[in-house]
């Protein structure tokens, strides 16, 4: 009973704050509305017994949204929403498409006969997950690691506008790199 109430509150809250993301004028508030949506879905996932994944989602989303806030403020013309403006295209069409998709999905959810549960959850789902990704699903973990590494490298390459010739001079002979901000290691 308590679980149902908590789930209902979290589900309604998650969807409502998801809507708020595209309603509020202030970009800071939009970011934190999205964060609220993620945290509430994290709680809903905790209700499923997935304690590790639920807490992980909350942890990761707080950090991710704080990074997102930086970019929101950086790239939006009106970050504080003090001069309300709409930056949308084809709002009616988007609304129609998304409502249609929701109705379609909802119809499928209600009318499809979902399979019965085949077994019970393990005593410790975190342990089961760990054994899976280090055992039979190791390929997934290896690919995830590779993809994350490739992302780090390519994101850095895309965003850095200074190459080694800027840092070490045209003939790469400079002993110390010429960086706008020196690091702490005195390189």
């Amino acid at each position: 009973m308590t679980e149902t109430v908590v789930f209902a509150v979290c589900a309604v809250g998650a969807v409502a704050s998801g809507v708020m993301v595209f309603v509020v004028d202030s970009m800071a508030r939009a970011t934190f509305a999205l964060l609220a949506s993620f945290v509430l879905t994290g709680v809903a996932i905790l209700l499923l017994g997935l304690s590790y994944l639920g807490v992980l989602i909350i942890l990761m989303m707080v950090m991710e949204m704080m990074v997102m806030a930086v970019f929101m403020i950086m790239y939006m013309m009106n970050p504080a929403g003090l001069m309300p403006m709409t930056m949308v295209h084809n709002k009616v069409g988007s609304l129609a498409v998304s409502v249609g998709v929701f109705l379609l999905l909802a119809a499928g959810i209600v009318f499809v006969p979902w399979p019965e549960r085949t077994g019970g959850p393990p005593a410790d789902p975190t342990l089961a997950l760990g054994e899976a990704i280090m055992g039979e699903h190791m390929l997934v973990m290896m690919l995830v690691g590779l993809v994350l590494f490739a992302t780090m490298v390519s994101a850095t390459v895309l965003t850095t506008h200074r190459g080694r010739y800027d840092r070490y001079g045209d003939d790469l002979r400079r002993g110390r790199p010429d960086d706008p901000i020196g690091g702490g290691l005195d390189r």
Binding site: S26, A28, R29, F32, L35, S51, Y52, V55, L56, I58, L59, V62, M63, M65, M66, V67, A69, V70, A80, L82, D124, T126, I181, G182, G183, G184, L185
Partner: protein
């Protein structure tokens, strides 16, 4: 050995945190008084007098402030400290001995990122915003080594449950087994409580930084929350690295409190002695030195666990 304490103990958590936080504040005031050449004894009542002054001070309202985010940011700091403390065991039992206690602690501690940024942003002040951004840079610098330090402790015990980590230290404390992880944890403890050398997000060079526009009860909440945070990161060091409530003669809860008081005193003294750290410098130290150090530490511990 382990277990969840009865629910009423949840009420004890903020009381204990406030008590340790008061101790930290009084210790800081005493150290400052001694450095200034006045009697350090007056420092013991300084936090109470300061709190009374802030309670009667008028709250500041600012036109153009994002009041919702501003007030929420201030309230989140003590709230996150209390939530993080729920998994810290006092002696044998904690309020909630979650199976993923270490991850929970980490998640609650990251909430301070959001809180300080909201504080800085909401006040509609350039000083505040610079302070909020400073804390984000600080967070990105300390968080990776901090996570690896936590992971190393969990690795040594083979469990994310805090009581299991305590139980794994019956033979040898993790502070001895993994000194690098412990040192990194202490550094990141200072950083995440934006305390001492890592206090620049609310530093004097920014006229108070993220706290620049706060006054009255709002400032009191932030300051109390920060000291509570210092207390909770110190308290978490005890089960993670200092053997929890293990010790001769005294019962477990007394040892936990004594060790926590010791770590708080160490952090307060470090905060008083060390100069401020600039984040444009510390970021490189954190990523180029501390991350490899903690990774090597984790490797050493993993090999030790395998061969034990």
């Amino acid at each position: 050995m382990s277990g969840a304490a009865p629910l009423w103990t949840a009420l004890l958590v903020p009381v204990l945190l406030l008590a340790f936080g008061y101790g930290a504040a009084a210790g800081t005031a005493a150290l400052r008084a001694r450095a200034a050449g006045t009697a350090p004894g007056a420092g013991l009542t300084a936090p109470a007098r300061e709190a009374a002054r802030l309670l009667v001070q008028r709250r500041r309202t600012i036109p153009g402030a994002d009041t919702l985010l501003w007030r929420l940011g201030g309230a989140l700091v003590p709230a996150a400290a209390v939530l993080a403390a729920l998994v810290v065991p006092l002696g044998p039992a904690s309020v909630g001995d979650l199976s993923v206690g270490v991850v929970w602690f980490n998640a609650m501690e990251v909430v301070v990122w959001a809180a300080l940024w909201m504080l800085g942003w909401g006040a509609d002040s350039a000083w505040g915003l610079v302070g909020g951004y400073r804390f984000l840079v600080q967070g990105l610098s300390y968080e990776l080594p901090h996570m690896f330090a936590l992971t190393t402790a969990a690795l040594g015990a083979g469990s994310l449950r805090v009581s299991d980590i305590v139980a794994a230290q019956e033979q040898v404390w993790f502070a001895v087994l993994m000194p690098a992880a412990f040192a990194v944890y202490l550094v990141s403890a200072l950083a995440m409580a934006f305390w001492g050398p890592f206090g620049t997000p609310v530093g004097r060079d920014l006229a108070g930084g993220a706290a620049a526009e706060l006054s009255g009860v709002d400032l009191l909440v932030l300051r109390a929350g920060r000291y509570m945070f210092l207390a909770v990161v110190a308290a978490m060091a005890v089960p993670l690295f200092l053997g929890g409530g293990a010790g001769p003669l005294l019962p477990g809860w007394a040892w936990t409190l004594a060790k926590t008081a010791g770590v708080v005193a160490l952090l307060v003294w470090l905060g008083h002695r060390l100069p401020a750290v600039r984040m444009d410098r510390f970021t490189e130290v954190g990523w180029v030195v501390l991350v490899p150090v903690t990774l090597l530490q984790a490797l050493v511990v993993a090999v030790f666990v395998l061969t034990r």
